[in-house]
Amino acid sequence: MFRLEMPGWIKQKLRKSRVSSIQSIVIWSFSIMIVVAITTVAVLLHEKFSASTERSAFLAARQTVDQVSYNLEDYISGMAGFYRAIEVNMLKNGEWDGQQVDKQLDTLMGSRDDIVSITLFDSGGKLLKNRPAAALRPSANATGQGWFQAAVRVPDHLSFSLPHIQNLYKGSYQWVVSMSKRITVVRDGQPQEVILLVDMNFKQIDELCSRISLGHRGYAYIIDEGAGNIVYHPQQQLIYMGLKSENVEQALVASSDYVEDMNGNKRLITVKSVANIGWKIIGVSYMDDILTSREEVNRYLVRVVAGVLVLVVLVSMLLAMSIVRPIKRMERTMRAVERGNFDVELPVEGPLEVERLSRRFNLMIHKIRQLMKQIVQEQESKRKHELEALQAQINPHFLYNTLNSVVRMAAMSRGEEVVTMITSLSKLFRISLSKGQNVISARDELEHAHHYLVIQQMRFGRKFRFSITATEEAEACMTPKIVLQPLIENAIEHGLEYSVEEGTIDISADVVDGMLVFRIEDNGAGMDSVKAALLLHGASVPDAGREPSATGKGSGVAVRNIHDRIRLYYGAPYGLEFKSELEEGTVVWVRMPAIKEVDDHE
């Protein structure tokens, strides 16, 4: 069960540690791949390398031992030759006395420094002659010695003894190898058996063997092929004392190299016979010693792998960064879009896929921008139409009141006034319709205001005066229609209706700094600054629909609509401005860009 849970747990953990990011995937996979590859190569190389070093170490050991064996063989055969020379010089005529022979022997001995002594015995072990001349020790038991017995055993055969201490003469004890032979000579007409002993210093053989180089710790020893005795061993005292042992039996029968395990030490044993003396050289090399190069290779490989690893990590980091960087940039850009900034653009560069992705993204953002613009435009025009529709509504109340006034005037036979009123009403409607155009000239707008004022003046029984002034330039400008009427209505209904004294409404139009400015001033009740502020920032369009203007309370909405309409047409810097003081009156500025009337106005 636990096993079943593992993958999910790991997956979660992986996700948490962001191991699943492209960057880490690239770095890890790249590194692991290269490391595996390098390690494989390293292991293969190492195997190959160590196999070949092993081979060459074996070969080197073999060559070394062979060389020693040849040297020893040469040395021994040289000695045998030397022995023959002595034999010839000394025993040629069975005459070994006399200065002539001494001289010859001295010359021969002088030619080699490894000859210790030349001694001639009779078959009973009595000294006949020796060189250098010296007295035999009384305790020297010649017949009891191995070399003597060997010579007696086989006549006319040169036998080599094992290395031993020469104890015939006074003076230092030397290690020698004795060459001895029983020879029959004719002396004074009588055949006589003599034994010629030539002792050669063992130092030479010792040096031959101890100079051998089989690694740092390796050595060579010699056994006697007949009996398997150790003839020479660099540590023979240890062997004698039982502190060290050699596997002589195996070496004795072995004819080729083998590896043995001696107290946990692996040793390469190389054997080689020295034919002419019946000895066998056994080279011992310690495996861990001769194969040190294997460890060197190991260390080298570890270093190489480590170096490559560093390189691989760096390269894969760069690689991963070059892949991930554009993606991250894309992510940043997308986040900006998410926050609402659509004015971004991705640079179209980098790898092909990223380039394509960037291009697609840019196209998408572009499309979104377009759509948004379209929506804004649609919304604006929708609102404009809404506002215009509202504006265009003829207040039925106004019409009803006006017509009532006309009826009243007609009943009172005030024909002239009726005419004036009807005329104004008719002109008011004509301009209101304006052939369906939404933007009209300021001149028309002012005329519309004029007619409206005239009607209202008559209705309210000339309770107020009004004036309309405009510059030529201003009159020639264009304006959304029915901008002034709601403001005037406002001024009359809120400013003047309840005023005791005669009210005034002054309307002017001028062009100031490229702006068409209408100014509507009344001396009515005015309002406090809170109310004035609310006029522009209060209710919005939907309320306007419910509360038609000219009903008193809701007229603020109409004012607001004008403000919005101007801004929809011309932008934020334009619109209305109020300045009002209680009991003093109100001034309204209507600002919009001064756009000249086009000729095809009719």
Binding site: K170, F202, Q237
Partner: protein, 323 residues
């Protein structure tokens, strides 16, 4: 650099560090034996034993791949403190184990103190002085060797006679033990009388004097020290008594061996200097490797007589290949 990148780098650098560390460790352990030094300090008087010790130590050094410094103590101006000065030089050269056959307890004490200060270890050969700070002693069992000598003498005298013991004037515990061993072995034979109390040192004159004194009525002489053996043998030759007075001694110096071959000395109890040097080196190597050295290592001794001295095995013990 984000988190995963940092983590990846961290892991990989850890790996690298580990690899590097193991590589370094491998290298260090490989080179350690070559750097650490073992010094063999020669005794002031050289002889066959000192030579074989050196040979043994060199053989072991080769086998263990250690570096062996040979410090000659026989320098003209060094006086009594030759070994101490040699030890000081060895320590100055960076030796961390000192191998020596101490000339005297006093010198060994000074050397052990000196080595202790420098953080070096001391391994003594051939003797077991009760000195603080000696890591290991390689020595024969002197008591047993003394017994062997005593038994050999008893055999020579067929269990009957007067034996004089020529002791040593050295305070080395080895000689005391030998003497005890000899007396113990001879004491088992009721008809043998032992005269003790004679002693001589390493000077030929002093020993000749002592030999003359004890020669008067002895059937056999057991000499504990090399010079004593030689002087006694020479004295018997001088007096023409060599066939009558049996001589049993210790040592394997060349003059002793010559006298042994000629039958003037009857028995020699021999120890192997080569083995002492070899085993001393083995202990030193053990110390260098951080292992535990054996407090005492006991060497075997051999008894040789004129007949057996040229047996092949005994030859190898008595006559090292001197280079």
């Amino acid at each position: 650099m984000n988190r995963s990148l940092a983590a990846a780098c961290g892991w990989l650098s850890l790996l690298l560090l580990a690899a590097a560390a193991s590589g370094c460790a491998g290298a260090a352990s490989k080179e350690k034996p070559a750097e650490a030094q073992i010094a063999l300090i020669a005794p002031q008087r050289s002889g066959a034993l000192a030579d074989s010790i050196r040979l043994g130590a060199e053989a072991a050094a080769k086998e263990y791949g250690s570096q062996l410094l040979y410090m000659d103590a026989n320098v003209s101006d060094s006086g009594e403190e030759g070994q101490l000065k040699a030890a000081q030089r060895a320590i100055a050269l960076g030796a961390s184990v000192l191998l020596l056959d101490p000339d005297s307890e006093q010198q060994l004490r000074l050397i052990a103190a000196e080595a202790g200060k420098a953080g070096a270890s001391v391994v003594t050969l051939n003797d077991t002085y009760p000195v603080e700070g000696v890591a290991s002693s390689i020595s024969i069992n002197n008591r047993e060797a003394g017994r062997m000598a005593g038994e050999a003498m008893a055999e020579l005298l067929h269990g009957k006679g007067i034996v004089s013991l020529l002791g040593s004037d050295s305070a080395a515990p080895g000689y005391e033990q030998r003497e005890l061993g000899v007396v113990e072995a001879l004491g088992r034979h009721k008809e043998i009388t032992v005269h003790t109390g004679y002693s001589c040192g390493s000077s030929p004159d002093g020993c000749a004097e002592a030999a003359r004194l004890l020669m008067e009525q002895a059937d056999g002489v057991v000499a504990l020290q090399e010079q004593g053996v030689l002087s006694t043998a020479q004295e018997t030759v001088k007096r023409g008594l060599s066939s009558r007075v049996k001589i049993v001694g210790f040592g394997s110096e060349v003059p002793q061996l010559e006298l042994l071959q000629d039958g003037i000395i009857d028995i020699l109890v021999v120890q192997s200097g080569f083995n002492a040097g070899y085993l001393g080196m083995q202990q030193a190597h053990e110390l260098l490797e951080g292992g535990h050295a054996d407090r005492t290592v006991t060497l075997d001794t051999k008894v040789v007589n004129p007949d057996s001295m040229f047996w092949m095995d005994n030859q190898k013990l008595l006559f090292p290949f001197v280079k």
